[in-house]
């Protein structure tokens, strides 16, 4: 009973009734419209952050001065927070990236499909969904309660957030390395650890580095894990392990709720600085995966 459609010209056009074609056109409009709906806030947010934050951030005191003690005071000074953000994110990276890569090695090279390996892989994935405020409260109760506020405490919280992300990317990237590469190394007399360190990891490095840079970018923008772990200061504190510290994200949060134009302006300029840092890492991540990745494939 099926009518055979003669293969003439454009089949879609000849068989679809006008109403069906209109419906499809409406759907296409909706699909294109949803993209614009998402891009409007992106353009608005970036536009506002640049236009409101630029004039203050363009001053040199922004990068050299302390934060005004009076919140209602206008003017620059964000050096303590810039240093704090870089220091805390750096320390978190130094802890989470090596451990995360090793965790990925465990999953991809050692545990294989063992039950324990599957459990770890499962919970690593689940752990990426743990809210950042929970990590902050966790470190506040387990570390800060005994040792006090410090940049290191903030780094611990950020590190806990980054760890499962790095484990997952490393695992995925290592599993993409062809088995033949490992077998050649074994055939040449390589042992397992040496093969992984000198052959498998270098082959997966572009993907892992790219994923790690993305994790760094996300960690640098986090606020909730730092609120109750690093404390608050107005002057630069370069000590990682002792004394209160501050970060750009925390400064934005505190200044955003003030009614004074001066502190609101500082919040915008801090937001611009933070977005610049985050975007640099995001773009680096893209560059690494595009260029290094391509070189390895060919």
């Amino acid at each position: 009973m099926t009518a055979i459609v003669p293969p003439t010209g454009s089949i879609t056009a000849s068989t679809a009734t006008p109403w069906r074609r209109i419906k499809s056109a409406m759907a296409t409009t909706g699909i294109v419209g949803s993209l614009f709906l998402a891009l409007v806030p992106l353009v608005l947010i970036i536009g506002y952050v640049i236009s409101r934050g630029w004039s203050l951030m363009a001053t040199s005191e922004w990068f050299t001065g302390s934060i005004p003690i009076l919140t209602r005071a206008a003017g620059p000074g964000m050096r303590p927070a810039i240093i704090g953000t870089l220091m805390i994110t750096g320390a978190a990276t130094a802890m989470a990236v090596p451990l995360g890569v090793l965790g990925g090695v465990f999953l991809s090279e050692y545990s294989g499909g063992s039950r324990f390996g599957r459990v770890v892989r499962f919970f690593a994935e689940v752990m990426t969904g743990v809210p950042s405020i929970v990590m902050g409260i966790f470190i506040a109760t387990i570390w800060v309660a005994a040792n006090g506020f410090s940049a290191f405490a903030g780094a611990l919280a950020l590190g806990c957030l980054m760890l499962p992300v790095i484990i997952r990317t490393s695992d995925e990237m290592l599993r993409l390395v062809p088995r033949e590469l490992r077998e050649s190394a074994y055939a040449l007399g390589g042992r397992k650890a040496g093969t992984i360190l000198r052959v498998v990891l270098p082959a997966a490095a572009p993907g892992i580095i790219s994923g790690a840079l993305l994790a760094v970018a996300r960690a640098a923008g986090e606020t909730a894990p730092l609120l109750f772990t690093i404390g608050f200061v107005n002057d630069t504190n370069t000590s990682l392990f002792s004394g209160n510290n501050t970060a750009l994200s925390v400064q934005i949060f505190k200044n955003a709720t003030q009614v004074y134009p001066g502190s609101q302006e500082r919040a915008w300029a801090a937001a611009l600085t933070l977005i610049a840092i985050v975007f640099v890492f995001t773009i680096l991540s893209r560059l690494v995966s595009t260029f290094l990745g391509r070189k390895h494939q060919s």
Partner: protein
């Protein structure tokens, strides 16, 4: 061709140093892998332990009472839970259709050269820190919304249910709805990327078959793409839900911080993660355990959502042979 060449046992005795390195390395990576479980166990253990006093003294009332008044030792969290549920639902309602639309655009509609740039642009939304969304929300979006809310209210005000939903106290613009809108923007990239990856696993033969039967693009999407992607889409929605439930800073800035259970979406409220962020710093006495208790609730709920999401991802992978 399935022979695996693990570290050959016969060479073991010949090279003791290599063997030692092998063993040490194995131990180190085992520890790194187990660290995930150790940290999760520590989170659950310490936080439940610290929150225990409040669970003991308040009992079930901690979850079912809606009065939060630390000064008078009243620790009911129902209003915060309500706020979290309302705001997350609003975010999903707004973000899921848009995300599916963008994913369909990149996989089915856009010309190939446009796909990567669009993906990068949408991913940029994910790169913006949540505190920046909050800053924009509190200083730009919230002040602009009361007029907009007034307009909506004047249009649907007479309609029974809609009239109640779209009403409230619109003076500051900080409300459930504002928080829902900001959250929707924030979870759009992750839902989009999971939906997109799911759509790319739909076999070309299915789409060709639909077209060959005379289907328009929309009919092809409904008949071939969507049914094939159902598990992946549910996984994407669940991951988005997990993000929305746990998002703290942006919500803390725009929700208005006045806990109440109200069907009026334009009125101020509060949410679990937001109240922790706003009050933990100054919390004393029993308030601290009460706030840690909320973190425990958030942890467990997002864990369950994560496990469910993982289940649907596994289902989608079985169906499509990976790639999600």
């Amino acid at each position: 061709m399935t022979t695996t060449l693990e570290a050959p046992a016969l060479s073991g005795s010949q090279r003791p140093p290599g063997r030692l390195l092998d063993r040490t390395f194995r131990g180190v990576v085992l520890f790194a892998g187990a660290l995930v479980l150790i940290i999760l166990a520590l989170i659950a253990g310490t936080m439940v332990n610290k929150a225990m006093p409040i669970f003991r003294s308040e009992g079930l009332g901690y979850f079912t009472h809606d009065v939060w008044d630390p000064a008078h030792a009243k620790f009911g969290t129902l209003a915060f839970t309500f706020g979290t549920v309302v705001v997350s639902s609003l975010a999903l309602l707004l973000a899921v259709p848009v995300s599916i639309g963008i994913a369909l655009f990149t996989t089915e509609v856009a010309p190939p050269w446009l796909r990567k740039p669009v993906t990068y642009l949408v991913d940029l939304l994910a790169a913006v820190p949540s505190v920046v969304y909050g800053l924009w929300g509190i200083l730009v979006l919230a002040p602009a919304l009361p007029g907009f809310y007034d307009n909506i209210h004047s249009v649907v005000g007479g309609v029974p249910i809609l009239g109640t939903l779209f009403s409230g106290d619109p003076i500051s613009g900080r409300s459930f709805m504002t928080a829902g809108v900001i959250l929707a923007i924030m979870i759009t990239p992750i839902v989009t990327s999971i939906a997109r990856e799911t759509f790319t696993t739909v076999p070309q033969s299915l789409k060709d078959a639909a077209h060959a039967l005379g289907a328009t693009r929309w009919e092809m999407i409904r008949a071939a793409v969507i049914p094939h992607s159902r598990s992946g889409l549910v996984a994407g929605i669940l991951v988005g839900l997990g993000r929305a439930l746990g998002e703290t800073i942006a919500v803390a800035l725009v929700i208005g911080s006045s806990p109440q259970i109200s069907a009026k979406l334009f009125s101020s409220g509060d949410a679990l993660a937001a109240v922790i962020a706003n009050q933990f710093g100054e919390a004393t006495g029993n308030t601290r355990p009460a706030l840690i208790g909320m973190a425990v609730v958030l942890f467990l709920v997002t864990l369950v959502v994560g496990v469910l999401a993982r289940g649907y991802v596994a289902r989608a992978e079985r169906r499509t042979g990976g790639a999600v």
